[in-house]
């Protein structure tokens, strides 16, 4: 699409300059620096702080050491935990919930819709430390509301944070993040012209046929791109740290939390932290590529 220019390139560049500086300093530079870091034994304190040594692939070997890496508190374990977390929270929890709610309120208006939407969005925007704390209270074995409800319907009262920490953060993050998918699917549904659905009704399709032949094909692209996005975000999320601190005994140590512990606690190993970050970025990158490809395919199909 031809866009007429109002500015000369020079003036346009001036407008862009501040943003370009920020991007260069806070996106490009860390990206490059992280690679360099991962090949050193840089730490925050001690001898290797001012004078880090080049260690080649040492950090990576330590991360992926086949003898050790799957133990709790090591990188492999955190990868495994994160994978479970992402599948449970992103795929099932957030996308599932979001789709369900958007679908339930499709073409409906009124108080019920507004109330539910507001609650879902509030869960998303309330500051993370607050939300983490309310969930600590919610999940508390003795006093928590969840157990109060479960007891009332006769399902017992497990110690969530201690015995089921991964389920707890999965539940928590699904609750926290459903809003995005809900809004996304809601607006995707709204782009379907009512005449499409009405034609199907007049033609004689039942609810299942409508879903299979109309809704699902039209939404499929949105569902896939949403899945990728949510996966990307969930993979990088740090908030569960505020709920469990990565524990008990490192059982909920997501990759993001593992990075934090490696670089900002204990030995403050920045080199190793850099290596983890590189791996993270590689995973992010693959997800991003898949997303790009899906977006393009959707554009072509439309």
């Amino acid at each position: 699409m031809e866009r007429k220019a109002i500015f000369s390139a020079k003036v346009g560049l001036l407008f862009l300059a501040p943003a370009l500086i920020f991007v260069a300093v806070f996106l490009l530079y860390p990206f490059v620096r992280v690679f360099m870091l991962s090949f050193t034994n840089q730490t925050l304190l001690g001898a290797t702080a001012p004078n880090p040594d080049w260690v080649g692939l040492d950090n990576y070997q330590r991360l992926f050491d086949p003898d050790r890496w799957m133990r709790l508190g090591e990188f492999g374990s955190s990868l495994k935990i994160t994978a479970r977390f992402v599948i449970g929270s992103a795929l099932i929890g957030q996308v599932g919930l979001g789709l369900l709610i958007a679908w339930a309120f499709y073409r409906k208006k009124g108080f019920l819709r507004e109330a539910v939407y507001t609650l879902v969005i509030l869960a998303w925007i309330i500051p993370e430390t607050v939300v983490a704390f309310t969930w600590v209270a919610f999940l508390d074995w003795e006093f928590g509301t969840l157990n109060a409800v479960l007891e009332a319907i006769g399902l017992g009262s497990p110690d969530w944070l201690f015995n089921h920490p991964l389920e707890s953060i999965i539940l928590f993050n699904s609750w926290r993040g459903a809003a995005f998918s809900m809004l996304l699917f809601s607006s995707a549904l709204e782009t379907i012209p009512p005449s499409y659905i009405e034609t199907a009704e007049v033609v004689g399709a039942n609810a299942w046929q409508k879903f299979r032949d109309i809704f699902f094909p039209l939404l499929r692209g949105h569902i896939l791109t949403d899945l990728i996005l949510i996966t990307l975000w969930t993979f990088n999320v740090f908030t569960p740290f505020l709920l469990t601190g990565g524990g008990p005994v490192r059982r909920t140590e997501l990759v993001s939390i593992y990075t934090y512990r490696t670089a900002f606690q204990g030995q403050h190993e920045f080199g190793k932290g850099g290596a983890i970050a590189v791996v993270m970025m590689l995973i992010n990158f693959s997800l991003a590529i898949v997303y790009l490809l899906m977006i393009r395919r959707r554009r072509v199909e439309a």
Binding site: S195, E198, A200, V202, G204
Partner: protein, 362 residues
């Protein structure tokens, strides 16, 4: 094909009464147009037949079935929407065949029946394409093809030609009428374009604010509008309507400006229920029923020439009567040279008088 009836149907949306005690009967094989401006209730009426809206009061029947509360799927009607509603993720073949797929008819048979209908509508070569690859006119025909394949008991059209450009619209119009003749399908057609309604329908239902203003065959409604709304809505250029007061005693009509007086006693004589003295009335006369004279005539209306518009096949002359512009239609292509002062002679049998309530005074 089936008959459709409405018995005293009411439909409200919040505080707005969209369909206000409407009763009508559409015969088997009849092509009925629902005509009116936006908000008149014509689309709601159509959707009530389809089952996309459910009536608040009254009864709707299709054939001998009471369908008032039935879901659309149970009513067995076919509908063509203004935006054609062709699914972008299906081929044209799949789109047209969808009514059959929903009924569990096998792929082979679907393909056969769709191809047959597509051939009739001259889109058989487009079956493997996607809707976005078709032109507007082709999409429209595909949408109609789907309705035909449905083999329903009635066809419903919601302004199906509005999205086409003017030239295409005329072609499509002719095509639709031909098709309906061939199929003998009971059809209900919503439009705001009076020319379309006139050209296509066996009967026109003129609607306004949820009520029926008049029902009749096109020529009936044209020649005999029973109220000022129908009189002004049907016909292009529209009927000339002059409002003022009846001076029965003097056999005259004075326009709203208080000055222009028209001799009316010949018109009043023909009325069996003439208006009261000083009653507000409206005088109606179609542009083609006025003769222009260049010399004063008894009973003719004096007026001043405003503009002459040569239209090609005919000529329109606008004149000023008092403060109003009156249009006269001359069936000649050469514009006459007219002096500034002209006299208009309306044909007596086509001069209509409407009362203060807009209803025709006979």
């Amino acid at each position: 094909m089936s008959q459709i009836t409405f018995e005293n149907v009411v439909k409200r949306f919040g505080s707005v009464v969209a369909v206000d005690h409407v009763s009508l009967t559409i015969g088997e094989g009849e092509f009925v147009a629902l005509l009116g401006p936006s908000g008149c209730g014509k689309t709601t009426t159509l959707r009530l037949i389809a089952g996309l809206e459910i009536a608040d009061n009254g009864r709707i029947t299709i054939g001998d079935r009471d369908v008032t509360y039935l879901a659309p799927a149970a009513r067995d009607v076919a509908m063509v929407f203004q935006d054609y509603a062709l699914y972008p993720h299906m081929t044209i073949l799949e789109n047209i065949g969808y009514p059959l797929k929903v009924r569990g008819i096998g792929k082979q048979e679907r393909a056969e029946r769709v191809t047959e209908v597509a051939r009739e509508l001259q889109i058989a070569n487009l079956l493997e394409r996607r809707p976005s690859q078709l032109s507007g006119g082709q999409q429209q025909r595909a949408s109609v093809a789907r309705a035909v394949v449905h083999q329903a008991v009635a066809f419903l059209f919601d302004e199906p030609l509005s999205n086409l450009d003017a030239q295409l619209r005329l072609e499509a119009r002719a095509f639709l009428k031909h098709l309906q003749n061939e199929l003998g399908a009971t059809s209900v057609y919503v439009t705001h374009d009076q020319a379309e309604a006139m050209a296509l329908a066996d009967r026109i239902v003129v609607m306004r604010l949820g009520k029926i203003m008049q029902i009749g065959a096109p020529l009936d409604v044209y020649r005999n509008p029973t109220n000022t709304f129908v009189a002004s809505f049907i016909g292009s250029p529209p009927m000339n309507l002059l409002s003022g007061k009846a001076l029965i005693g003097q056999g005259q009509f004075v326009m709203d400006d208080g000055e222009t007086v028209i001799d009316m006693h010949q018109v009043y004589q023909r009325l069996s229920n003439p208006p009261q003295e000083n009653e507000s009335i409206t005088l109606g006369i179609r542009p083609e029923h006025i003769t222009i004279h260049t010399e004063p005539q008894p009973f003719a209306i004096p007026s001043k020439l405003y503009v002459v518009q040569p239209m090609g096949g005919e000529t329109l002359v606008n004149v000023r009567v008092g403060s109003k512009l009156v249009t006269v239609r001359l069936f000649q292509d050469e514009p006459p040279s007219l002096p500034e002062d002209v006299w208009l002679e309306p044909a007596l049998e086509w001069s209509f008088v409407y009362g203060a309530d807009g209803e025709r005074i006979q």
